[in-house]
């Protein structure tokens, strides 16, 4: 799998949520609310002959803190399991249909949310959370 293609694919899927700024890279400056893939862990050789690699992509969604209650409510809306603002629903797509991110992978699953807390990014503080996504695809 091309890691950058996977990151771009995840960003493209998240970009279907109205009002959310999305980048495929960790941005120098955040335009909140902002979603981006951050850390990537790779487990090579999940099948013989370079048949499958597995990525664990940790994405982050950061929301501004102008109003503490409203910002956390907005953040919570992105972390729902379904609905128009759900990152899980947007990224996974149609249930029962493998999400290939336009051919960048074989399938993925938004596994969990963690770290619902304050984050400091490029000198500014935001409230945010991490979304961990498991991606499987052919070893390159």
């Amino acid at each position: 799998m091309d890691i950058q293609a996977v990151r771009q694919g995840l960003a493209d899927r998240a970009d279907t949520i109205a009002g959310l700024t999305v980048t495929a890279h960790v941005p120098d400056s955040v335009t909140e609310p902002h979603f981006f893939p951050a850390e990537v862990d790779v487990n090579f050789d999940q099948a013989y002959g370079r048949g499958m690699d597995e990525l664990m992509v940790t994405c982050r969604v950061l929301v501004g803190r102008a109003d503490d209650a409203a910002s956390q409510a907005l953040l919570s809306s992105y972390l729902k399991g379904s609905g128009a603002t759900s990152l899980k629903a947007a990224i996974e797509g149609t249930p029962g249909v493998a999400q290939t991110l336009g051919g960048a992978c074989d399938d993925l699953r938004v596994e969990r949310v963690s770290g619902f807390r304050f984050y400091e990014h490029s000198g500014s503080r935001y409230v945010g959370a991490e979304i961990v996504i498991r991606v499987i695809g052919e070893g390159d």
Binding site: D45, Q46, A47, Y48, G49, R50, G51, M52, E54, R109, E111, R134, I136, E138
Partner: protein, 249 residues
């Protein structure tokens, strides 16, 4: 071959190359112990009676698992489901399926197929097969990645002569077929020299027109020491990917 890490085990079952969806293969071979201990086994020097045994029935088992796929005859689900309860050709290569690579050759009954798992799992499969012929330590006589569009022959290998009581065992895995009315008839040839100046056909596989696997054997004694795979291909614009594995046991 020295110590190595398992990364490129090649597994072929019938007409399916399971390599890229396989992450675990285990081959085992056992011989039953038949005890023959009697009072005559007493050793007065050590004042002990030593157990004595004879080898009884031999058996082979294969188990494998990996990631489930379906959609054509070469995918694990299609091949496993159609092969349930069927005796088929199985070949496992520990490191590579290149020409001449070590290969374990067997004919086995697919006795078990499991699929499904827990939510979030990468869809898995597991299969077991019970051998119905000797487990043969042999080699790859034709590699799976070389497309053939015309008749020809493969590399010759000096496996030695086949003595009385032993046989040559060979598997054919047809993995891909293209063209109009394509047919491949593979055979095993032997000769007393590496140039195969007077090759003798020792066994011929049934003509294949689709993906699938076959096993055959040739009984000794055979004094020739050089062995190779050969094939006849017919049809319009034919193209085949296939693996031939063979060995003597």
């Amino acid at each position: 071959m020295g110590k190595f890490i398992l990364r490129n085990v090649r597994l072929f079952a019938g007409g399916a190359d399971l390599t890229s969806v396989n992450n675990s293969v285990e081959l085992s071979s056992e011989v039953e112990e038949g005890e023959t201990t009697n009072f005559g086994d007493y050793d007065p020097t050590t004042d002990r009676t030593w157990k004595s045994v004879l080898g009884g029935l031999a058996s082979t088992a294969l188990s494998a698992k990996g990631q489930w796929e379906a959609g054509d005859a070469g995918k694990v689900d299609d091949a496993s489901w159609s092969g349930m309860g069927v005796v088929d050709a199985w070949t496992a290569c520990p490191h590579t399926a290149a020409d001449g690579a070590l290969a374990w050759v067997l004919k086995a009954l697919r006795s078990s197929y499991k699929l499904g798992g827990e939510v979030g799992d990468v869809a898995p499969w597991e299969a077991e097969a019970s051998g119905t012929s000797p487990l043969v330590r042999g080699l790859v006589a034709h590699p799976p990645g070389t497309a053939r569009i015309a008749s020809g022959s493969g590399t010759g290998y000096n496996l030695g002569a086949i003595t009385a009581g032993k046989s040559l065992y060979a598997n054919l895995h047809v993995l891909s077929v293209a063209g109009t009315t394509p047919t491949i008839t593979a055979r095993i040839e032997s000769d007393d020299n590496s140039n195969f100046t007077s090759a003798t056909t020792r066994a011929t596989f049934t003509a294949a027109t689709a993906v699938g696997g076959q096993s055959l054997s040739a009984t000794g004694p055979i004094t020739d020491t050089w062995w190779r795979a050969a094939w006849t291909i017919t049809g319009t614009s034919p193209s085949f990917l296939f693996l031939v594995s063979l060995g003597i046991a």
